[in-house]
Symmetry: C2
Subunit: 230 residues, 2 copies
C-alpha cells in the first residue's frame, strides 16, 4: 500500500521504517525537503539528523507535506500534536479527501515545563483527533497507537509478549478495519486492539498521556505499556 507519513521525527521514522520492512511504499512528508536533507542537527532526543537516518533507510521517499499526502492512499499523522493541524492544512485538504488518516499524535504542551500537560482547548471535552476530523470532514480520521512509546507501536512483542492494550477509535467502521490490518502487521493481536467507539474516544486516549508520562518518569524509560486485567 502507498502510505504517507506526515512528520519526520522519531515517531514518524519508526513507523516509516517498519512499514518499508513490511513492503509498503512510504513517502514521508516534511515542510521543506532541501532544508530537511541539509540539516546536520540531532533532535532533542539525540537522534541523528534526518539525512543520516535516510541513508540506512533508502527505500523511503521524502517529499513535501503536499507531495506525501498526494502520494499516500492512507496518511499517518506523526507530527508534534501542537503542529498537526497546520501541517495537515499544508498537506492540502484535497489530498486527504476520501482517505483514511491515522492520527497517532498527542497535543502535548511543554510550555510549563516537565512533565507536559495537554494543550489548552485540546483536552477533557475535546481532542486533537476531533479537531483534525472537524478540519477535514471528508477524511476518515482514526486515532490509535498514541498511548505508548513508538518502539512498541511497531513491535508490541518487545514487552509482555505483546499482550497489552492498544486503543482505536474513529467515526468510520471501515476505516478502523483497514487500520486494524496494519496494526496486525505490526504485531498487534485482535484481542489487544480495543475499539472504544467514535472519534470522541480520543479525549480518553489522549488523556492517557499524563499518567504515561508519570509512569515513564518512575520507570526511567518508555518500554512499558498498560494491560487490562479482568
Amino acid at each position: 500500500m502507498k502510505i504517507a507519513i506526515i512528520g519526520t521525527g522519531i515517531v514518524g521514522r519508526t513507523i516509516a521504517s517498519k512499514l518499508a520492512e513490511l513492503n509498503h511504499e512510504v513517502m514521508m512528508g516534511t515542510r521543506n525537503v532541501s532544508d530537511k536533507l541539509a540539516s546536520t542537527v540531532k533532535d532533542n532526543y539525540g537522534n541523528p539528523p534526518f539525512n543520516e537516518w535516510l541513508k540506512v533507510n533508502s527505500k523511503l521517499k521524502l517529499g513535501t507535506f503536499t507531495e506525501s499526502a498526494a502520494f499516500g492512499e492512507l496518511v499517518i499523522n506523526a507530527t508534534n500534536g501542537g503542529n498537526s493541524v497546520t501541517a495537515l492544512i499544508l498537506a492540502g485538504k484535497k489530498n486527504l479527501v476520501g482517505k483514511v488518516l491515522v492520527d497517532i499524535a498527542n497535543p502535548l504542551d511543554f510550555s510549563n515545563g516537565m512533565p507536559p500537560s495537554l494543550l489548552s482547548g485540546l483536552n477533557n471535552t475535546y481532542s486533537l483527533a476531533e479537531e483534525i476530523q472537524k478540519t477535514f470532514p471528508e477524511t476518515m480520521v482514526v486515532k490509535t497507537l498514541n498511548t505508548m512509546w513508538c518502539g512498541l507501536m511497531v513491535n508490541p512483542k518487545l514487552v509482555g509478549k505483546g499482550d497489552h492494550i492498544n486503543f482505536i477509535c474513529g467515526n468510520d467502521a471501515e476505516a478502523k478495519t483497514s487500520v486494524k490490518e496494519i496494526l496486525n502487521q505490526f504485531g498487534w493481536q485482535d484481542k489487544n486492539i480495543m475499539d472504544i467507539g467514535d472519534i470522541t474516544g480520543a479525549r480518553a486516549t489522549e488523556s492517557v498521556l499524563p499518567i504515561w508520562l508519570r509512569v515513564s518518569g518512575v520507570l526511567k524509560g518508555g518500554a512499558f505499556n498498560f494491560k487490562i486485567v479482568q
Copy 2:
C-alpha cells in the same frame, strides 16, 4: 485506628465495611444524620438506602461531617468529587489539621451526558487533590485508589490475582507510608503501589478516568484494572 470516611455512597460504604472487617474503628460522615437514616431511597446505582445497609454493618458509626472528621485519626474523602471541597469545609478545617487525608474521589462532570468529563478547572493543569491540599494546607493529602472500581480498591485479588496497578501521590512521604500500610491491609502488594511523586501527580491519576470509563463501557462493568507490563 480511628478512621473517618466522609461520604456515604457506594465507595464510602465499600471502604467502610472493609476497614471495619480489618478491626479499624470507623465513623462515616454525612451532611445530616437524621435525614440519612430516614431516607428510604435507593441511590442512582440501585444500592439500598443507607439505613438498610447500616443494619448489616452494625459496627460502623454514623456522624455529621464534623463529628466524623473530629473522630478520625485519618480521614478518607469518599464524596462525589464535585462536592468534596464543600463537604470537607463542613467537616471543619480544625478537625483536619495535622491529619492524613486520603482522597479517593474524582472530579467528574455529568452535566454533558455520559461518559462524564472532568470538571472545568479541575483537570489537565490542576486537580481535585491539589485543590483539597490548597484549601487545607496543614493537612497531608494523599491521592490513591481513584483509578479503579471500589470493589477492587479493597479487594485487588478479585481480578488478575491482584497483580495490577494502584498509584499513590502526595507531598508528605510519611503520610504516604501510613496510607500504604492500609493499602497492604486491603491486599495491595508493594510492587503494585506506584509512588508517582507529589500531589500534582493527581492530575495524571484523575486523568485516568476518561479511559477507565470508556473501557468500562466496552467491558460492560468495572471489574478490571490496568497493569503495567515491561
